[in-house]
């Protein structure tokens, strides 16, 4: 087999993201850049979630907690400690990862619905704690002085920079997701997903593998949180820990195909597009949530493998291309 063919799955995924990143540069419309930013954010978050949800089979219902946590840490460092965006992103990601490590050691012992419930509980506990925690602004959060963008050459340049950073994070997330999927580590995760007890009997050290998968899947949302709220200019508890976004992420992963590299990319792009469309179409506008609900129901009941999974199952020849 030629060497590049081996990486076809990765190449296709990266190409899709690159196209999305290049599109606003070609049209040079700021609004396209905003739309692309939102989609990229969805792709990166969904791909991260996929590591624990799709590969490992643990339903993290409150995964957005890492986005909010990283966002808060980074925002605090930028606005209160005067850090620059780069180390703050790193710190946001690392602290999200550290939190996931400690928490994962505890809650990954729970299985199935109990784990899902615990992640909801963790999200709510962190949300309500931060609402009461004055160091991070309590219920009213924190704001960024506009002058901060001057360090980055003004607001326009800062926005451009934030976009490039988002593209970079998305690409890295996908590369990591691919590397995990095709490694021995990833195979262990898949074994855990299929049957954790059987996997342990075969020697898969499930507690460690699960924890590392959870940590990996938490780091990127942490980094993205810092970037998002830096762009947003302010951070408040409820927008930082929106439970419904957690569930939207699950829908993206399910729609595209859980457990595949390309699935979350397709799912996130399609979902964001569809939601935008429903919102701007008058007939659907009022019942957009219901339409999305019916769609979710159709996926869950009839094509639980998602679009990519369905294609892979039906046309085995595509397995090499659609990883």
């Amino acid at each position: 087999m030629k060497n590049w063919q081996k990486y076809l799955g990765l190449i296709i995924s990266l190409l899709a993201v690159t196209l999305l990143a290049v599109w606003p540069l070609i049209t040079s419309k700021p609004v396209d850049r905003e739309v692309a930013f939102t989609i990229l954010k969805g792709i990166a978050l969904a791909s991260s979630l996929n590591i624990i949800l799709g590969y490992t089979g643990y339903v993290s219902f409150g995964h957005i907690v890492y986005f909010g946590l990283g966002g808060y840490i980074g925002f605090y460092l930028i606005s209160q400690q005067g850090w620059s965006i780069y180390p703050s992103m790193l710190a946001g990601g690392l602290i999200a990862g550290l939190f996931a490590f400690l928490l994962g050691k505890a809650i990954l012992r729970l299985r199935g619905a109990y784990f899902a419930l615990a992640t909801i509980g963790v999200n709510m506990a962190v949300l309500s704690f931060i609402s009461n925690f004055d160091l991070l602004g309590g219920p009213i959060g924190m704001t960024l002085n506009f002058n901060i963008y001057k360090e980055y050459g003004g607001a326009a340049q800062a926005l451009q920079l934030i976009f490039y950073l988002m593209v970079a994070i998305t690409l890295i997330t996908i590369i990591v997701s691919y590397l995990v999927r095709t490694s021995k580590f990833g195979l262990g995760l898949l074994a855990i997903r299929e049957d954790e007890d059987a996997a342990e009997v075969m020697g898969v050290v499930a507690p460690n593998l699960k924890t590392w998968a959870y940590v990996l899947s938490a780091i990127f949302p942490g980094v993205i949180g810092v970037l998002f709220f830096f762009k947003n200019g302010s951070i408040e508890p409820h927008p930082a820990f929106p439970l419904h976004t957690s569930i939207e992420l699950i829908v993206m992963v399910m729609l595209g195909g859980q457990g595949t590299v390309f699935g979350p990319i397709l799912g996130a792009a399609a979902y964001q597009r569809m939601r935008g469309l429903l919102l701007t179409t008058p007939i659907f506008k009022n019942i957009q949530l219901s339409v999305a609900g019916v769609l979710l129901l159709i996926i869950v009941l009839f094509i639980p493998a998602g679009v990519v999974g369905w294609i892979r199952n039906r046309f085995p020849i595509t397995r090499r291309v659609l990883q």
């Binding site: 959060g141 002085n145 002058n147 769609l295």
Partner: protein
């Protein structure tokens, strides 16, 4: 079965991408080719058609639309060189949610080529939108966004119509000092959002400065529906006066449950809720409740009072506004949010006329220099670097629900100069 469903789903997906690609076609129509002596000014904003700010935001937008229709019906704004400025609007639903607000404002500023922006409703959404206005160099008039903090972020193009939060309840403390000199203990119970926290922080400092003992100072979450714990604490604290609140929903619930429990208090002042006409639905529970208002139909801002104050008068009178508003919206009474929306338009109109152009730089200069009285009150902006755009001309008036001849009615009780009735004190 499965295959059909899958086909449908694939088609839906494909359709969404395709439609997305030609989405520009579905966006708000923007100016057609204008005649040489006619220019079109596009004003962009989002409103909360859905979500928790629906009521207040809806009124604000209705007020603004009324102003725009009036101006366009009258043939637009005419500049000194005969150029006629016609108004166009570009708008989206922000769902009362910061998620998409920046995307939408970017769209307004760049795609729809809005010349000027109006803020969404609420301090939180406005904070997110202001950044986009600044980033794109667009003037933004804010209404329904009172938190002071938004005007302390180094912005230069954001201008506030409302009296800032820090001066929302200080008048109520003055009122208390005037009618109940024997009171020493006050309680602050407030919604823990940006706006109300800003309000009570300032009011608490002010009250303590006047020698009051603050026996309870506690925030409640935005979606609170059970005020039992707070009411128990108020009783326990021995407070003689209660100040606080947040928005309409929580404020009216707070008032209702306080009444239900039969708690005695001398003075009860709440943010936002009492001036809303719907507050009267509470019946007896509304009686005696005081609320700060940005504007009331009864408020006496007239060309005469402008002359007394030594500032220029501009625009229609309060009566004209109320008549036009009730006429335009099936008899709906305007609240101060409606007036705020309308006032944003009037201020814009004055700025365009003063600038005598639609050039954003000239309009910004006109706003910086503005010192004006309109039906809404005095309008003057802080031009210092730290607080640029903060409203310093306008001030609050305080209303109280009192027993009138035909049921409950709102009366202006403070400041004394504009009062329509004496405050009932203590609350019966």
């Amino acid at each position: 079965m499965k295959r059909t469903l899958f086909t449908i789903l694939t088609l839906l997906l494909a359709a969404s991408f395709l439609l997305g690609a030609c989405q520009t076609g579905t966006e708000p129509e923007v100016a057609e080719e204008a005649k040489p002596d006619e220019v079109t000014l596009v004003i962009g904003f989002t409103s909360s058609i859905t979500g928790k700010y629906e009521t207040s935001s809806g009124r604000q937008v209705r007020g603004f639309n009324l102003w725009m229709d009036q101006v366009n019906d009258a043939g637009g704004i005419t500049l000194s060189d005969g150029t006629v400025v016609k108004l166009e609007v570009a708008t989206y639903d922000d769902e009362s949610n910061t998620d998409r607000i920046q995307e939408l404002y970017t769209r307004l500023a760049t795609e729809d080529n809005a010349d000027l922006l109006i803020s969404p409703y609420s301090s939180g959404l406005t904070a997110a939108a202001s950044i986009i206005a600044e980033q794109n160099g667009k003037v933004m008039i804010t209404t329904g966004a009172a938190a002071d903090s938004n005007y302390q972020q180094g912005y230069t193009l954001v201008f506030q119509i409302y009296t800032p939060a820090s001066r929302y309840l200080t008048g109520a403390v003055d009122l208390l000092a005037s009618v109940g000199p024997e009171v020493t203990k006050v309680a602050f119970v407030y919604e823990d959002t940006k706006f109300s926290t800003g309000v009570v922080e300032a009011a608490k400092a002010y009250a303590e400065g006047m020698g009051y003992e603050v026996v309870l100072y506690e925030g409640y979450a935005a979606d609170t529906s059970d005020f039992g714990p707070f009411i128990n604490k108020i009783v326990d604290s021995g407070a003689e006066a209660i100040l606080g609140g947040g928005h309409f929903q929580d404020g009216s619930t707070f008032a209702r449950q306080l009444h239900e429990k039969g708690v005695d208090t001398n003075l009860f002042a709440l943010l936002v809720a009492p001036p809303e006409p719907d507050f009267a639905d509470l019946g007896e529970a509304a009686l005696g409740v005081i609320g700060p208002s940005q504007w009331e139909p009864l408020a006496a801002y007239t060309p005469e009072s402008a002359e007394v104050a030594g500032v220029e008068w501009f625009g229609p009178s309060s009566d004209d506004f109320v008549t036009a508003y009730t006429g335009a919206y099936d008899g709906e009474e305007p609240s101060y949010h409606s007036a705020g929306g309308y006032a944003a338009g009037v201020v814009l109109q004055n700025a365009v006329l003063t600038a005598d152009s639609t050039d954003p730089v000239a309009i910004k200069a006109a706003l910086d220099a503005m010192d004006l009285m309109i039906f809404f009150g005095n309008i003057k902006f802080d031009t210092s670097e730290e607080n640029h755009g903060l409203q310093i001309g306008h001030s609050m008036i305080y209303i109280q629900w009192q027993e009138g001849e035909d049921g409950l009615s709102k009366q202006v009780v403070w400041p004394k100069a504009g009062a329509t009735s004496d405050a009932i004190y203590p609350i019966p």
